[in-house]
Amino acid sequence: MYGATVEPLEDSRADEAKLAAFEARIARGEKIEPGDWMPDEYRRQLIRMISQHAHSEIVGMLPEGAFIARAPSLRRKLILLAKVQDEAGHGQYLYHAAETLGATREAMIEALLSGKAKYSSIFNYPTLSWADMGAIGWLVDGAAILNQSMLAKCSYGPYSRAMIRICAEENFHKRQGQDIVITLATGTPEQKAMMQNSLNRWWPPTLMMFGPHDSDSPNSGVLTRWGIKTKTNDELRQMFINQMVPDLLALGLTIPDPDLRYDEASGNWLVGKIDWDEFWRVVKGDGPCNAERMEARRAAHADGRWVREAMAAYADKYAQDGR
C-alpha cells in the first residue's frame, strides 16, 4: 500500500555474517532500534515506505479538509476537524520514524513537493459530496487499518511504535465514517442517493489501495523476510471485502460490481475484475486531483517560509541552548 514495490536485494558479500545475524534477530521477533546494524537495503526500503506513508497522511488531509467548512452540523464539523488534525499528527509520527533512520524532514518535504516521492493514490480522487466523508472514513480508513495493524508488528522499533499510536487513533476515523454512512443510508431519499453515488465512486479505488495482485507484485519476499510485510496484498484485500460487503448490503446500498458473488466453499465474497489501467494512471500522476493537491501543498510551504525563518531568527537572537 505505501510503496510496496521492491527492488531485488543485492549481494552484500562483506556483511554476510551480519546479515545472517540480523535476519535471525527478526526471526526471533526482536525489534531493531536506531544504532543497531541493518542492511542498507532495509534502511532504504523503510525510509521509502515510512516517508510515503507519512506523505499519504499529509496529502490525505486535503480531500477531507475541504469539507470542514461545509460540514452540515456542529458535531460533524468538530469530528471532521479532529480527524484531519489526527492525520497531520500521524504524518508527524511517521516523519519522526523516518528521521530515526537518518532521513530529514526538509529532504522528505522537498521530495513530496517536487513530485519525486509517491503517496497513496487513493488521495488523488476528488471529494464531491458530504457522503464522501462517510466513504473515506469507513472504507478508505478501514482499509488502512488492516494494513496498519500488520505494520504495528513491523521489526523496526520506531515504525512499530508509531503504528501502534496510529492504530489506536485510527479506529475513531473508521467509526465516525461508518456513523455518517449509516445516517445517510437510513436518512432521506436524497441522502441515500448521495451515499450510493459516493460508494459507486470510492469502492473501486479502495480495493486498489491494497496494491497489485500478488501474482503481479515483484519480490515482496525480502519485505516478508525482514518482518516488514506479513500479509499479502490479496490477503488483506479479501479481508477487507469480507468485512465491508455484508454491512453495506444490510444498509440497503449496492456494491458497484455486477460480478460480486458469495462463494459458499471459501466463505469469501468474490469481486469482479479490477481496472488496473486506471490504478497505474493515477499512481503515475494522472489522477483528477494530483496537480491541484500538490499545488496546494507547495503554496502552503512557500507561503510559510517567512514564518519559519522569522521563528528561527528569534531563537538565534533570544533563545539560548534551544530554550
Binding site: 521477533g29 526482536e30 525489534k31 532500534e33 536506531p34 544504532g35 543497531d36 546494524w37 458535531r75 468538530l78 469530528i79 479532529a82 488534525q85 489526527d86 499528527g89 508527524q92 509520527y93 519522526h96 528521521e99 530529514t104 524532514r105 526538509e106 518535504i109 522499533g157 511504535r161 508509531a162 499510536r165 487513533e169 479506529n171 475513531f172 473508521k174 467509526r175 465516525q176 461508518q178 456513523d179 449509516i182 437510513t186 454491512d247 444490510a250 444498509l251 517560509r305 519559519r308 525563518e309 521563528m311 528561527a312 531568527a313 528569534y314 531563537a315 533563545a319 541552548d321 534551544g322 530554550r323
Partner: protein, 185 residues
C-alpha cells in the same frame, strides 16, 4: 537564510503521577517553549498526561545493547569534552515490545560515562537500548500546567471510538432485516 523545518526536540511523556516518563517521539520547534507547546498538541490530544519533557535531539545520546556488544562503552566519548560533572538522565528499553522508560539519574562528565555508571547502579545490563541526556537540557511542564495543558484533552469525547454507537446501530439494522425477511416468508 535557507529554509528550515526547525530543530528537533525529543519528547517524553508521563501519563500518571505513579508512572515513569516514557519516550513519546519528537517535535520540530524553533525553541524550547514552542517545543513544549507543540508536544502538547502532537502527543496529548487524548488523555492521559501529567507531565511533558522536551530535550534538543542534538544532546540525546543513544546506545543499543548490540552496539555495546560490538564496541565496549568505556572506549567512547561524545561531542566536545568538558571536564565538568553534570547530572544525566537515563532512559532504557527493557523488552523488545516495550517502551523507553525513565530509569534514573547519575553524575558524570560524558553521556557514555553516565551510562557506564548507570550499569553499575540502577540500569539493567540486560536492557536493550538506552537514551541519555543532560538534565539541564530538559524543559518541563509544571504541575500548574496540568489544568490548561493536559486536562482539556478529556473534554473531546468525539475523538474516542467509543463515542460512536455503530455496532449497536448495525445490530439493530440486521435484526430489522431478519424480521422483515421473516415477515415476507
Amino acid at each position: 537564510m535557507t529554509d528550515t523545518q526547525w530543530p528537533r526536540f525529543i519528547v517524553f511523556q508521563q501519563e500518571h503521577e505513579s508512572a515513569a516518563h516514557q519516550y513519546a517521539g519528537s517535535v520540530h520547534a524553533p525553541d524550547a517553549e514552542m517545543a513544549l507547546l507543540n508536544a502538547r498538541d502532537v502527543f496529548v490530544r487524548r488523555p492521559a498526561c501529567v507531565s511533558l519533557w522536551v530535550v534538543p535531539s542534538a544532546v540525546v545520546f543513544t546506545k543499543t545493547a548490540e552496539e555495546i556488544a560490538a564496541n565496549a562503552l568505556t572506549g567512547e566519548t561524545l561531542l566536545a569534552e568538558t571536564s565538568e560533572t553534570q547530572t544525566y538522565i537515563v532512559f532504557q528499553k527493557a523488552a523488545h515490545k516495550g517502551a523507553f522508560s525513565y530509569s534514573g539519574k547519575v553524575s558524570a562528565v560524558t553521556p557514555s560515562q553516565a551510562l557506564a555508571i548507570a550499569f553499575e547502579t540502577f540500569a539493567q545490563r540486560s536492557a536493550l537500548a538506552w537514551r541519555v541526556f543532560p538534565e539541564q537540557a530538559v524543559t518541563r511542564s509544571t504541575p500548574e500546567d496540568i489544568e490548561a495543558l493536559f486536562q482539556p484533552a478529556a473534554g473531546k469525547a468525539f475523538r474516542d471510538q467509543a463515542f460512536y454507537h455503530t455496532v449497536a446501530a448495525m445490530q439493530q439494522i440486521r435484526k430489522q432485516l431478519q424480521e422483515n425477511t421473516a415477515d415476507e416468508s
